[in-house]
Structures are given as C-alpha cells and as structure tokens.
C-alpha cells in the first residue's frame, strides 16, 4: 500500500530544523502576498469580481469551450480534445511522431504533471527537458515538484550546488544562487536553441479571441515557444475566461497572490502561430466535467493555481509538498485529488486543521476549508477511510452526543493520564508525537461548576464579556 499523508509527513518531520526553515520560508512568501494585497484598496472587490467571472465560466463552460475552439481554429491553431490524461499523452506523442521529434523543451504545466506526461514520453523514448529552473532542479533529482509555483522550495542551495556539480559540472562546494542560476541559464539556453518542439502550460484561455496567456518570471515559456517549429499548449478545460478584458482582473490577482509581485515578468498572449510555425492546443477534461457535476465541490474548478493556499497552510508548511502524493499539493490539491482517485487520495482532505486561512487568501474565493470538511463526510460515508478511523469517529460522535457517556469518558481520560500515562504516552498514539500530554485537571468543568456555582444565580445573560485590548506590539504586520 502507498504511504498516506501522515506517514509521508512523518518522514519530512524527521529533520526538525529543516521543517522550521521550510515553514518560515513559505510564511515569508505569505507575508509578501499580504503586503501586495494590502497595497490595493479594491482587493476584496477584485476577488469578488474574479470569483463571479469564474462562476459564470463554470455555468456556461460548454458554450465558452466551443467559442474558444472556433476562435482558435480561425487563428490557425490546431485544437485537440482529451477525455483523460492517457488520451492527452497520446495526442502529444502523436504530434511529436508526426514531426519526427524525440526531444523537446517544456515550461511549467501542472496539467502535464497531473497526466504524468514526462513519464509517458520517456517510456516512448522521448527526452523531455523541464526549463523552469525549479522544475529542472527537481527533474535532475528525479523528483516531482513539491509546490505548484515554487517547485523546489524544499531544496537547500548546498544540495542544489551538489546536484549541479554532478549533472552540470559546476565546481564542487559552490552553492551561490547567482552562480548556479547562471550555470542553469547556459545549460538550458543550449536546449532552447536546439529543440524543435516546445510544450507550455496555459494560465488563461480567452473564449472571445481564442488566445491563451502564459505567465512566467524566467521567460522560459517564451524562449521555448518562439524558437521552436511546433508549440503545443496543454490546458485543463477550466482555464477558460470569457473575454480579453477579464485578463485585467486575473493578472492583477495572480502574481500578487502567488509571490507578492505586482505582475509576473512575462504575461505572454499567444494568439496565432508565427510564420512557418505550428501551434496546437490540447483541451483536457480528466475528471473536470465530473467535478463540475458535484455541487459541493465544483468551485474547486475556479482555481487559478497561484499557490497562496499552500503558503498560508500550517499543515503544508510543516509537512512539505511530497506528503500530498499528488501533482497539486496543499489545500487546493487536497480538494481536487479525491475527484481524480477517491481511494488513493482519501487521506488528503484530513491533512488540514480546517483553520480557514486557505479560503481567506484565495484570490477567486474558493471555500477550500469547507470543501475539505465536506470531502471528509463523503469519504467516510462511502467507506474510503480506514475502518479504524471510521470506528473512532463513530465512537467520538456517540460520546459527544451522550452526556452520560461524555462524563464517563472524561473521567476515564483524566484518570488514565494521571495514573497510567504509558497507555497514551507511547508511539501508538499519534496525538503524542511532538507533544507532551497536558497535566490532567483534577476535575471536569462540570464537576467544578456543580461544586462552586450550582444553585447560585446564572451569570446575567446581557452582560458583555470584558475585552482586553491586545498589546500593540503583538499585532502581526
């Protein structure tokens, strides 16, 4: 059986200083996002507008897809439809075969990760070079990205230095980001100049004009696409937006939410192939139409892949992207993954504290934490969680709904922690990991209340609780 989130997080948690470093790095990015968002007085109105545009898209998707297809065909772009990842991979491969191409460059596309395109092409003897620096690093290390925007956020520069020493021949021990980036620049420039075919992802596809927009900071999508004879853009069908002017809303939100930048360095609008070039778009469903049919979960399709929910999530920051065993990790990944494979991903909606921070930072206002909670109910009801988990949740529900049972359970718990701590203080109890069990209270609140307040008048109902102003220095930001 494959390891679940908890087991994989355990592995990540073995190196505590590294977890702290990972946690702090992502929180720093979250703070940059805050700074950028607070700099825009209309931020909340922009989020609301983006959210409503996306609602409209989902409610009219079939028509927008046809409109987009027609416009793209008119622009001289070839359009393909793939029902699932397998078909997507076959389509891409058939285009390569048509051109006799067995090596290519690819810029970041989470969709191709979702479809496992690289593995598929490699099995068919095709060499794929990922050109985003972070993706190239994890590719050389034979790992998947651990974050959709920051693929190698879990790597230390010394490790990257060693990796480059082995693969790119940089001097041993050199871990200077400037030096290593330049080494990658030279290494990848040679690939851009020699590969005849480039694959890119798509951030937004405009139904009205048939153009697609690709956002990068490095310029790797453009270097690939403008030098190649053939450009294949792969996109999920939910990437459609109705009109060009809607890009104004989404491009204002995307980079600010992702990294705190006012906009990515490049926002490239690909509408027609350049002279002599061939351009393809592959529209991929792979479960999206199914998710669209689930009223509680369809809002997850509004996602614009900014990664803000990753950076703010206390569980993601402390468990790392690989613990989610899914192309898209983090809170949004945890609500998308069960739709792809309920059995395999049944653990992911439980990898959350339901604190709601993900929903608060989401630029398109997806109710992520509500959906995590709803997935848990679906997964338990449909029998996708372990019988131990289901039984313990049932026992918990019974205890909480029965006052007498609750009383006994509380007594038993306090007695156990006091007199037989080894029963809970052991490796079998996951709640004990990285925690000390609390001192057991002498009595329950109920017992205390009966002793001290029973028979005395109830506190007056209308009395306001005393609010103490928190000290200014403690307020974040």
């Amino acid at each position: 059986m494959k390891k679940d989130h908890a087991a994989l997080a355990d592995k990540f948690n073995q190196d505590e200083p590294r977890v702290d470093w990972h946690d702090e790095t992502l929180w720093w990015i979250r703070q940059k996002r805050d700074k950028a968002a607070f700099g825009i007085p209309e931020w909340e109105e922009l989020r609301e507008t983006a959210s409503r545009i996306k609602f409209n898209v989902l409610s009219n998707l079939s028509q927008y897809l046809e409109q987009f297809e027609k416009a793209a065909l008119d622009n001289g772009v070839q359009v393909h439809w793939a029902a699932d990842g397998e078909e997507h991979n076959r389509i891409v491969h058939s285009i390569l075969q048509k051109h006799g191409v067995d090596r290519l460059v690819k810029s970041k596309s989470m969709l191709t990760e979702e479809c496992h395109l690289n593995e598929y092409l490699q099995e068919h003897g095709v060499e794929v070079i990922d050109t985003d620096l972070g993706e190239r690093i994890v590719q050389l290390a034979k790992e998947p990205p651990s974050h959709i925007v920051l693929p190698c956020i879990h790597w230390k520069k010394e490790e990257i230095g060693e990796l480059f020493h082995q693969h790119l021949g940089t001097p041993k021990g050199n871990a200077d980001p400037q030096y290593l980036t330049n080494a990658a620049r030279l290494h990848l420039r040679e690939k851009f100049l020699t590969r005849k075919l480039a694959i890119t992802g798509v951030n937004f596809a405009v139904a009205e004009t048939g153009e697609m927009v690709v956002c990068t900071n490095e310029g790797n999508a453009d270097m690939g696409a403008h030098l190649a004879d053939v450009h294949i853009a792969c996109m999920g069908i939910e990437k459609i937006i109705p009109q060009r002017k809607h890009l104004g809303v989404f491009l204002r939100l995307l980079a600010r939410s992702a990294t705190g930048q006012p906009i990515t360095t490049y926002s490239s609008h690909f509408k027609k192939p350049r002279k002599g070039q061939e351009m393809h778009i592959v529209l991929v469903d792979n479960g999206r139409s199914r998710q669209l049919g689930r009223p509680e979960f369809r809002n997850s399709l509004k996602c614009i892949r900014c990664g803000a929910c990753f950076n703010t999530c206390p569980v993601y920051r402390r468990s790392g992207g690989h613990s989610y065993h899914n192309a898209v990790a983090g809170p949004i990944g945890a609500i998308l993954a069960p739709n792809l494979d309920m059995k395999k991903n049944a653990d992911l909606p439980f990898a959350s504290t339901l604190c709601g921070s993900c929903s608060n930072v989401c630029p398109v206002k997806i109710d992520i934490h509500d959906q995590l909670y709803k997935w848990r109910q679906v997964l338990v009801k449909d029998g996708y969680v372990s019988s131990a988990k289901a039984a313990s949740m049932k026992a918990m529900a019974a205890t909480l709904s029965n006052p007498a049972l609750f009383k006994i359970a509380g007594k038993l718990g306090r007695w156990t922690i006091k007199h037989a701590p080894f029963v809970v203080n052991n490796g079998l109890n996951p709640w004990f990991k990285n925690r000390e069990m609390p001192e057991p209270p002498k009595e329950s609140f109920r017992e205390w209340y009966q002793k001290n307040r029973s028979g005395t008048p109830q506190p007056s109902a209308g009395r306001e609780p005393q609010y103490k102003e928190p000290s200014k220095s403690k307020i974040p930001h």
């Binding site: 990015i29 209309e42 507008t49 409503r52 409209n56 989902l58 409610s59 998707l61 079939s62 897809l65 622009n75 070839q78 359009v79 393909h80 439809w81 793939a82 029902a83 620096l133 920051l150 790597w155 520069k157 980001p177 400037q178 290593l180 330049n182 620049r185 990848l188 420039r189 851009f192 900071n217 490095e218 310029g219 790797n220 453009d222 270097m223 403008h226 030098l227 060009r244 002017k245 809607h246 890009l247 104004g248 809303v249 491009l251 204002r252 006012p262 906009i263 360095t265 490049y266 926002s267 490239s268 609008h269 690909f270 509408k271 027609k272 350049r274 529209l283 469903d285 669209l292 009223p295």
Partner: protein, 211 residues
Amino acid sequence: MSANNKSMNDLNSSLRGGGSRERILTAVKKNQPELMTLPVVKNFPQGFSSPVEKFSEVLKGIGGSVYEVANYTEVLHILTANFPGANRIMSTVQELSSINKGDTGYEDPHSLEDVDLAVISSPLAVAENGAVWTMDSLVPQRVLPFICQHLAVIVNKENLVSSMHEAYDKIGNADYGFGVFIAGPSKTADIEQSLVLGAHGPKSMTVFLIG
C-alpha cells in the same frame, strides 16, 4: 447551419479526435450549473496622483531601470554609455537605428542568440505594475525581447495608463498574433528564494519614458 457545413464539421471533429470532443462537451453541458451572470468589471481608478512616478517606483522595485528623457538623442547617449561592450545591438525603433551594431538579420530567430542589446518600442505601459506591452507587429521576431542579454524599451509618456483595466481598454480587440506584458528583467528565486536577475532572458531592462 447547412447540411454540407455540418458534415464538414463532423469530418473536422473526427479528425481532431471528435469522440472525446463530443463526450466532453456533453458531460460539461449536463453538469454545469444554471447560468450565472457575468459581472461588470469596474475600472477601479487608482489612488496615485502621478502615473510616471508610480511606474518608475514599481519598475525599479522589480529590478528595472527608468529614465525620463526629452528626445531620442538622450536615449542614444544613455544607451551608448551604459552598454559600451555590446557587440550586437538591434533596434526596432527607427529613430534609434544608428545604434545598430553587428548582424542585423532577423530571418532565423535562433540567429538572435548573440544579441547583447535589443531596443524595442511599446505603445502602452502600466503604472500599477511597471509592465510594458508590445506585439509582434512591433517586433520582427517574437523571441527578440526574450533572447537578448539586455532589453531597452521606449515608451511615450502619453501612453502610460494607471491600471491593467485601462490597459485592456486600450488594447481593445487588437488582432495581434502575439502580445506580451513585460515587467522587469527575466528573473528567478527558485534557489532558496534568493532573487537572481537574468534567468533565461534579459539580465536588465531599461525603460525610457519620452516626452
């Protein structure tokens, strides 16, 4: 739709893997919720008083340089002083053609790999995020502003707008083949979040605000 057109369409669909196309569209149509209205996008007037100041501040903040100049002669002086070692310079701006140096051929995009400095013009720049817009009608090879080692962009001050909303108002339904917003030099922070300028594209971006 005439019967002929329809059968042509069916033929086209089958050539493009029509089975999946129909299946996907049918499933989407079946599962999409009731139509929700498309909201009106407001123009969101920006709070800053001087777009020129804002543009300069933002672009410098993301690693670019900005010069306010009166005319092209000033641009020439600055570029000559700032890039003394450039062996190949390509200007797509007529007024600055005297700065061209080395091979000026555009036929093969790959041949541009040794361009040290590219000078292009932009009909539209955005104050809120320091981005300049350009299109393939203004750049003989799409790859030019990406493959060069350094990029200079000429913008008329009159063409500066405050926000992305205004920018798309100006772009309207322009029928370009390729268009791009460029905001600063190519960059990455993939190695431990250390910002490095010059990932794959230009290591520097200089914008000249003329007028």
